[in-house]
Point group: C2
Chain length 111, copies 2
DNA sequence: TTGTTATATAACATTAATGTTAAGTAAATC
DNA sequence: GATTTACTTAACATTAATGTTATATAACAA
């Protein structure tokens, strides 16, 4: 979990987040992806490269086309990282509850 | 899920990721956090502000100290976003499987 | 009250990210 | 085989992020 920030960096751009959400519908070519954005196609190509490097999408070759699809790798890593931290947090609350429960009733009950 | 990239931007820096992982152990003051990093205290203060704005940490006031702790809000949002995409992806595979299963056996079985 | 500790804010330099256009390659179509 | 389509790569300008030091504020300790 030491390189997590690379994955997050890939997701830190609104265009790239939107691309991933488009791909939730299934595979799309570079042009399919580019059209809805007010941005040149080379710009989209570079966003796709960033997403691919972060293992968030995969690209296959189909003639002159390069269809893109979501990749499980990056997404699972992301989910696990968030889950891990959220659970640590919960454990801390439990520990705090235990400490409070162990305190003398006077401290605990007086309003 | 339209502002997700703000959360990701907050996590796109290695120092900020490391800070969150430190906070998994529980609440820490600004100085507690700053010491292990080869970086000035003002730099850490600004990282903390970014994390707070993204609802990834909370800060309370304790005299001159400002203890920081993980906040569930951002982390849950993160987890849910990743889960949503991963599930869409799985649904797409299922749909593809259905299409393949509906194909004539000749296409499916011939090696 | 005076000094010290804990933190925030401001001003600034450096670096990296994002977009643009122009040019390059390789497959598809006429 | 010439043109068009699909995409990548390169060169460049602009903007934003990150760090630094200096300075401000507020609580604490002597």
């Amino acid at each position: 979990m030491e390189e997590m920030h690379r994955t997050f960096a890939a997701l830190s751009d609104p265009t790239r987040c939107a691309i991933l959400e488009m791909l939730a519908d299934g595979e799309k070519t570079v042009m399919d992806i580019a059209v809805p954005f007010a941005m040149s196609q080379p710009a989209i190509s570079r966003h796709l490269k960033v997403l691919e490097d972060a293992a968030l999408i995969t690209r296959r070759i189909d003639g002159a086309k390069r269809p893109c699809a979501l990749s499980p790798a990056g997404l699972e890593q992301l989910e696990q990282w968030a889950t891990k931290l959220r659970k640590s947090m919960a454990r801390n609350y439990d520990r705090l509850d235990a400490v409070l429960a162990a305190m003398p009733p006077v401290e605990k009950d007086t309003p």
